[in-house]
Symmetry: C2
Subunit: 459 residues, 2 copies
Amino acid sequence: MLAAPLAQAQAQAPALDEETIDEAEMLMDAGLSSTIGYEVVESLTTEIGPRLAGSEAEARARDWAVAKMTALGLKNVRIDPFDVPYWERGIEEAEIISPYPQSLELTALGGSVATTEKGVTGEIVRFETLADLQDAPMTGLEGKIVFVDEYMTRTQDGSGYGVAVAKRSGAAIEAGKRGAVAALIRSVGTDSHRFPHTGQMRYGEVDRKVPIAALSAPDADQLQRALERGRPVTVRVRLDTVSPGTRPSGNVIGEIPGRTDEIVVIGGHLDSWDLGTGAVDDGAGIGITMGAAKVILESGLKPERTIRIVAFGAEEIGLYGGIHYAEKYAADLDKHIVGAESDFGAGQIYQFQTRFGETKLDRAKEFQRVLAPLGIGPGNNEASGGPDMIGLRGAGVPVVTLKQNGWDYFDLHHTHDDTLDKIDPDDIAQNVAAYAAFVWMAANMDGDFRDPVMMEASQ
Amino acid sequence: MLAAPLAQAQAQAPALDEETIDEAEMLMDAGLSSTIGYEVVESLTTEIGPRLAGSEAEARARDWAVAKMTALGLKNVRIDPFDVPYWERGIEEAEIISPYPQSLELTALGGSVATTEKGVTGEIVRFETLADLQDAPMTGLEGKIVFVDEYMTRTQDGSGYGVAVAKRSGAAIEAGKRGAVAALIRSVGTDSHRFPHTGQMRYGEVDRKVPIAALSAPDADQLQRALERGRPVTVRVRLDTVSPGTRPSGNVIGEIPGRTDEIVVIGGHLDSWDLGTGAVDDGAGIGITMGAAKVILESGLKPERTIRIVAFGAEEIGLYGGIHYAEKYAADLDKHIVGAESDFGAGQIYQFQTRFGETKLDRAKEFQRVLAPLGIGPGNNEASGGPDMIGLRGAGVPVVTLKQNGWDYFDLHHTHDDTLDKIDPDDIAQNVAAYAAFVWMAANMDGDFRDPVMMEASQ
Ligand SMILES: [Zn+2]
Ligand SMILES: [Zn+2]
Ligand SMILES: [Zn+2]
Ligand SMILES: [Zn+2]
């Protein structure tokens, strides 16, 4: 009985008027029946293909993005350039030398140092988990090849990734400290195909850098079975990686100009790993967000706030694009109403997650209710907003994660097999519909997503 | 009304007595609960891995088979050696040079000649089917790279393969006749993963041999999309294949000796392509047939006829083992009651196909009824018996195909991804159960599967 007046006191006027909701619903319908999201990914993955951060292919991808954004009708299309450290893979090969000679399929992790041209050879010492390696004595691994065979759990929300990915850096660091000559890991992935999964690793402040590569799941299984037979297993690994210095990268930006100086920003990352054509990671995010913009442009509606689309550069190797964006637009961040990056494939969105001020959670509900016909339910208020929102999130800009079904995402993630055929046109259309409606509502609602206290603190 | 006496006149005494049927049922139960089939494949694929015909690895596989057959308790274990032409793949790489530079994933077909070390470069000319290429004018392809983009149909019985596989040889032959510098095909396979499918090709009597390779399905899609954009697409292909002459191969044979000089023969092929570890093709056939023998040996039963297990060598490159077997045992073929090779993966058996004399079709029904509890229904009388039964079949030896569900088989066939994790232990146990019961019944039944007329003709 006491709750009623309290709730009334906290209740705010709705952020969305009927007209905005009607427009959002119209945009959802248009998005669902549009093929533009798929077409954009098709164009990027076909005409550019793999586009490693700092590579000549990533530069071509920027030119592609400028042309595509312009053709779609975006305004103020521009490149924000920056430099990144460049790393490239060369020949990579491995084989069991004894007792069961045969080749193994692996791939260097991004940032790994090279072996010599002849490769390194050593006896395999297997650890079930990274924690086991971390707990291992500091002696006994000299001259050996460490193998961290930790598995990743398949989940809809991708939560298995954060746990499993620690070994990408950790295995090399711990192996190096203990005098090992190389480190191998079971790929950070959920498939059982013969595709190793790459991804960035970092040595941190180690005295000794050892080369590190990921085995495909069937090859990790094979090594495990070879070891179970009880005889010493010797493996040769060759990785011809190179790190020739810095190279240009950049963000590509386009806008649907609004009537105010406030900004709603969405995007994906333009770079990909070098193995696949970067369809689900993250051609999809580029297609979804450019596609959402196109659906709005085709509607003829004019937003109150500027809708900004960003194709971030060099996400994979260290979130360079996201960090650069927040630095370059630091002075404008208080004008940023909300940000969201799509970077989890092209699976259907099932949840509307937010990171809003505590007093603005009603607005998350308002938005979610409009999106509900797409099958999108309410989410928590702990959204990351996507990796390239790191700078905005850190600066207190509210962010949203339109949470996608990631059940299959880590089957493909960072492999040769991340190609266009893995994207379902209907699924990506649902994403386009959701982003179009979300960004339209954010650009036209009354007020914002920040707590008033936070606003005052920043003044 | 007239049919009844006629049917009675044709009806023969049952081939199987109650005791044999009871024993077969006991063997099926034992097979279903045995893990031996899986264990044999696990051992072969782990301890040997890929075992290309004529390679040193195939020689190690023969030693493995001798040791494994002996350990299982088979008698008269021996190697029948023969020589085969050897071919090996080297570096293989391809890339779109223009207008959309990026690498393509392909693999040389077995028997393909090499390119030069720099590779060959040419404009792609695409044909939807091999028939379209065969119908093409004899001029206009000089200096070009022919791309035969024909699809394979997914079927349970694998019938899509026979149609699709024609392009493996045909594309190179037709391209060479027309002055092209190389041929590419969409892989003969049903998956959409980034695995090219290899397999043997033959130039026949051509004047000009051009190199040929298979693109993975996603890469064939990519090339198709690049071409659809209407600009000339130039590709570079490098294949460092070598054909250094003949090398040793051989069949490995083991037996459960019977009381008569008659023989029932089952087997699989020991060699595999070099890309995967040959689990479904054809480690499974080795595991199923050695496993069936082990289940019989463990039962303590002694067969009337000798049960012979053959691990055929060099099947992939031209059925050398099957042909050699029929030649070496030509004088004994009239003592061969029936033959069957398992070479279609490890999927569950769903049909009992035969190639029996027309007067012995009742016996197919008798056998099928015993196998029915395993989910095995009646099949036609046009069984091939498996590829290495080619010589026996040609000599009129009755053959059986225990037809497996091949729905997924051509997803893996001849790819890097043919590895142990693709075999379901329960499915392979069903195969072991069926082979154990089938071979037991054939070794102990009254009479045989041949038409009396045929018998007379061969005397
Ligand atoms: Zn990503
Ligand atoms: Zn990524
Ligand atoms: Zn085979
Ligand atoms: Zn084969």
